[in-house]
């Protein structure tokens, strides 16, 4: 089944060590998986790594929009899996970054059309050609989630400081392979609300999830603007959020980055969160 993704024989990359395949997942939708994938991928590529972003949200693709590549999508993941296009035909090079590529999802197909075995083989092939394979997982824990996780060896959990997002993230961690050590990005934190006791703090969130903290991203309207324009903030040298994404990329690349600033714990909502998860065995 690997023949489907055969590489050109002259490829000098054939002997490179396999890259890392990381799935970006959350359980709950709308917490920022796609934005995170685009920005972390962009930041990794800016460091010189070869990066491919795989949109695993068959039927509801969006990664192409966030990268501003939607009008360049000719072939997609399912075309490659079904041998209607070669990998090289389907990989779309980013507009800004030479070493960043996108493999788009099919828009008019169903997640059930993806064969888990083929998906695994494809990710394996991509690992031979790229330093990082970032897989943007669909919301939920149905077939699309299972296929997105299938080829990965590592997971980044994106969670917002909301009780429902924490509950869903906790469920997803439980569904990942036991020997994984997923890392956490707390997204859309509003420090002012945390201070007023109206939002969970990073400590509240991670007091439940207990995962290594990879980064904290503040909620800022610029993210919506950047997303609508298809320009990831990770490239914006002046943006604090961009800097936070670059720090995450450095950490993924193995640099010793200081732990993200952790705000004082809130007290207001914590009791509710505690009681919700206290029931577990």
């Amino acid at each position: 089944m690997m023949e489907a993704f055969e590489q050109p024989a002259e490829s000098p990359e054939a002997v490179r060590p396999l890259g890392r395949a990381i799935v970006i997942t959350s359980g709950k939708g709308g917490v920022g998986k796609t934005t995170t994938t685009a920005n972390v991928g962009t930041a990794l590529a800016a460091r010189g790594a070869k990066v491919v972003l795989v949109d695993a949200d068959v039927g509801l693709r969006n990664l192409d929009i966030v990268l501003g590549l939607e009008s360049r999508v000719k072939f997609h993941l399912l075309d490659v899996l079904e041998e209607k296009a070669t990998l090289d035909e389907a990989l779309i090079r980013d507009k800004r970054s030479e070493s960043l590529y996108l493999l788009a999802a099919a828009q008019t197909r169903e997640k059930e059309d993806v064969d888990t075995g083929l998906m695994k083989a494809l990710v394996e092939t991509l690992r031979a050609r790229f330093d990082y394979v970032l897989i943007d997982c669909p919301a939920g824990i149905e077939m699309g989630f299972k296929n997105a996780v299938a080829g990965a060896q590592h997971a980044i959990i994106v969670c917002t400081p909301e009780v429902s997002a924490v509950r869903d993230a906790d469920r997803v961690v439980g569904l990942l392979p036991n020997d994984w050590r997923p890392e956490l990005i707390v997204n859309r934190l509003r420090p002012l609300l945390v201070k007023k006791g109206k939002m969970l703090s990073v400590d509240d969130v991670n007091g439940i999830l207990r995962l290594p903290l990879l980064g904290v991203i503040a909620d800022e309207p610029n993210v919506i603007v950047a997303t609508n324009r298809g320009e990831p903030l990770a490239l914006d040298a002046l943006s604090e959020t961009g800097a936070a994404y670059r720090a995450i990329a450095a950490k993924i690349a193995g640099e010793d980055v200081p732990a993200p600033e952790v705000r004082p714990a809130s007290t207001g909502i914590f009791s509710k969160l505690g009681s919700l998860f206290g029931k577990r065995g």
Binding site: G29, N62, S164, R171, N228, I269
Partner: protein, 263 residues
């Protein structure tokens, strides 16, 4: 006469389906309608949290379907709104545990003794979506004014059209200042793209985060701006012609004037 069966759906996750279900449902109950909320997000349930009844769950929808309990045993009555109750999803099961036909049977049975059954749909368009829609006779499509949310909503609108299901749109988390500065799509633009009738416009309000975490529907407090907005949505749903005005955000009104043609 049996009640209306309305699925609240979106395609994209995190746009506010559950918050909308709870608040529209509570607003309808406040007006005296008998309302049942159904959480169909099996495996990732959250409606119980947003409604604040998570500690009172004894049975869930899968147990009802598998015949382990009576439907009325699984229903949780809200203590604040007399005519509001909810049917929780199972948390440790898979969506495939329920077929479309089984879901439809439960929803239809609930509608026999309710005026409105609001079905909270999971994100995506997989099996969970199809089951949630199977039980409905009409739909509310929730979207935010973001390109990715609208693209996903458009996919869902297409699927609902194919089923000939009547639908209306709620545009959620509108930030008037960003619309004015051209950084956010206007409600007009959203409705044009989706070519669907508008049911409501809900401004972005950070108070929702807090009330959601606390499990208190925002419509509990009449002084809240969003309480008025959800009440209007409830009235429109009931068939009243309520103009899209009185959004007491200064400046918001002007931008939305053109919307009247939709109302």
């Amino acid at each position: 006469m049996s009640g209306r069966r309305i699925v609240v759906t979106s395609g994209k996750g995190g746009v506010g389906k559950t918050t909308t279900t709870v608040n529209v449902g509570a607003a309808l109950a406040k007006r005296g309608h008998r309302v049942v909320l159904v959480d169909t997000d099996i495996g990732l349930r959250n409606l119980d949290l947003v409604l604040g009844v998570e500690k009172r769950i004894v049975f869930d929808i899968v147990e009802v379907i598998e015949g382990r309990c009576q439907l009325r045993q699984a229903l949780i009555k809200d203590k604040r709104f007399e005519s509001l109750s909810m049917l929780p999803a199972a948390q440790t099961r898979e969506k495939e545990a329920v077929t479309e036909e089984q879901m439809k049977a439960v929803i239809v049975e609930l509608a026999e003794t309710a005026d409105f059954v609001l079905i909270d749909c999971p994100a995506g368009i997989e099996h969970g979506f199809r089951s949630a829609v199977a039980g409905a006779s009409e739909a509310i499509v929730v979207t935010t004014p973001e390109v990715s949310a609208i693209r996903d909503a458009d996919r869902v609108v297409g699927k609902l059209h194919a089923l000939r299901m009547p639908m209306r749109v709620i545009v959620n988390r509108v930030r008037p200042d960003m619309v004015r500065s051209g950084e956010m799509m206007s409600v007009d633009d959203v409705c044009d793209i989706l070519s669907a009738e508008l049911l409501g416009i809900v401004p972005d309000d950070e108070e929702v985060i807090d009330t959601t975490n606390r499990g208190e529907p925002i419509v509990l407090d009449d002084s809240k701006r969003l309480a008025t907005i959800y009440d209007k949505i409830a009235r429109r749903l009931g068939g009243e012609l309520v103009p899209f005005s009185n959004l007491d955000e200064p400046g918001f009104f002007g931008r939305l004037k053109t919307l009247w043609k939709v109302g």
